[in-house]
Symmetry: C2
Subunit: 113 residues, 2 copies
């Protein structure tokens, strides 16, 4: 759980996770997509793998990395304990998401209910 946070707290690794969130990718694809050196990518992927954030599947001489469900689920579960805080006085969550998706002037006016 805290290892998950640590793994995600690094900018490059977060970008890798977001890239893998779209679809699984090989190391080379990750390097290309993120303009990363290959050793750097491998090292970050190692961290992500050792913390259980990603998993690998060998395909010929490539390694296909993809996200694992467990740590994200765990993170969500932890966050859920604080729902009463982050959901305070707002509407239901989907409304919040809806509102933020439209990305209107975020700092302009506060929406009152």
């Amino acid at each position: 759980m805290i290892e998950t946070l640590g793994a995600l707290a690094e900018p490059t690794r977060l970008r890798i996770v977001e890239a893998l969130g779209r679809r699984p990718r090989s190391v080379g694809e990750i390097c290309d997509a993120l303009s990363l050196g290959q050793p750097q990518a491998s090292k970050h992927l190692r961290v992500l793998r050792e913390t259980g954030v990603v998993e690998v599947e060998a395909k010929a001489q490539q390694r296909i990395y993809s996200l694992r469900a467990a740590p994200l689920r765990e993170l969500n579960l932890w966050l859920e304990r604080y729902r009463r805080i982050w959901d305070e006085r707002m509407d239901r969550l989907d409304d919040v998401i809806e509102g933020m998706k439209e990305e209107e002037n975020r700092d302009g006016r506060k929406k009152r209910k």
Copy 2:
């Protein structure tokens, strides 16, 4: 967002956040509750404050720290993008957030976004 992750990715700070999740506390209370040295507590609280995770309210000569909603909400929002991954075919952890995944329910795979 990534600053939030970084702030939470430190064991002591995570414990502080969890303590504040129950109720706001003064620095001294945090030191006692977590067996922390006072300068250490203050320094971690500074990080948490500068990343917006907590806020302070002065009360006499004490400083009462409490959690802020925004970063937790933001973190939840980020995590929501990966719900399709971490929620894969498990039982529902909660149904509140579920209004936005109508499109995903079939077995059609997404290759390209």
